[in-house]
Point group: C2
Chain length 158, copies 2
């Protein structure tokens, strides 16, 4: 019974796999790619923000954010407006069409999850929440102090 670690790792992978597949399906359904959809969600959630903010929230570079906004703008899902007070900034906002798109194609994975989660008995909901938070904490603990470990480095450095 020692490979519970294995079992949990497999379960984790299955979760990752499911979300990955979901992203692709969703992308195909909306005609948008995953990164584009993420940006659209970010924009819609904030009602108005700059490319720099988008980059920070999406975890990509500014150049990439600009490129993604280009795509969305070309599709009429977001608009760009020069800042009045500071003309260097650009405000990106969702259009009606953009909001519609999100409403029409809500994240099916989230939907499925929510629906099933809410159907669980109370004790099981509590268990799932506790376990997920535990796992999240464990993984994040790793990322933070794993830096030295990661620099096993020079493996391929020149």
């Amino acid at each position: 019974m020692e490979n519970r670690t294995q079992t949990s790792l497999i379960a984790l992978r299955r979760i990752l796999r499911a979300t990955e597949l979901n992203a692709r399906t969703l992308a195909r359904a909306t005609g948008l790619t995953t990164p584009q959809l993420i940006v659209l969600e970010i924009v819609a959630a904030a009602t108005r923000l700059t490319p720099k903010d988008i980059a920070a929230r999406a975890g990509v570079g500014q150049a990439t954010a600009t490129a993604l906004v280009d795509k969305l703008e070309a599709r009429g899902l977001v608009t760009r407006t020069r800042g009045e007070k500071d003309r260097r900034v650009v405000w990106v906002a969702p259009t009606e069409a953009g909001l519609e798109m999100l409403k029409a194609a809500p994240d099916p994975l989230q939907r499925t999850f929510s629906k099933q989660f809410e159907a669980l008995p109370d004790w099981e909901q509590a268990m799932v929440v506790a376990a997920l938070e535990k796992v999240g904490a464990m993984l994040n603990a790793g990322t933070i102090d794993a830096s030295p470990l990661l620099d096993v480095g020079a493996v391929d450095r020149k």
Copy 2:
């Protein structure tokens, strides 16, 4: 309790985020990109297999698998050999250097997770396993759970 759904979704996102960051860090440490590393892991776990197998296990097209093997071969991490019996097939196998690379830079996320998981009291291990499996099942309920595709190397291979 509407809130618990939210909480669990947030926890899930945190887990996804952690794994994503991990992939990037790891890629940087090894000098390989994430897909390349995945392929290398698959190859190393199987000791010898065809591009077709790789494609199936990595969940990408055959053409993409070929391209990734190209990169790894150019770096001297894997070798290609024509099949003796059936000359259409190509056997891809890890080189010493390839195995070294994986040994030198093992997946830190898995490491951290395993370590912390094993430190948990028995009841909590059981809870985490149960919850992760539950979540996996819930997420997969929506999609068609392609079992062969789940066969992603290292972790779940003997």
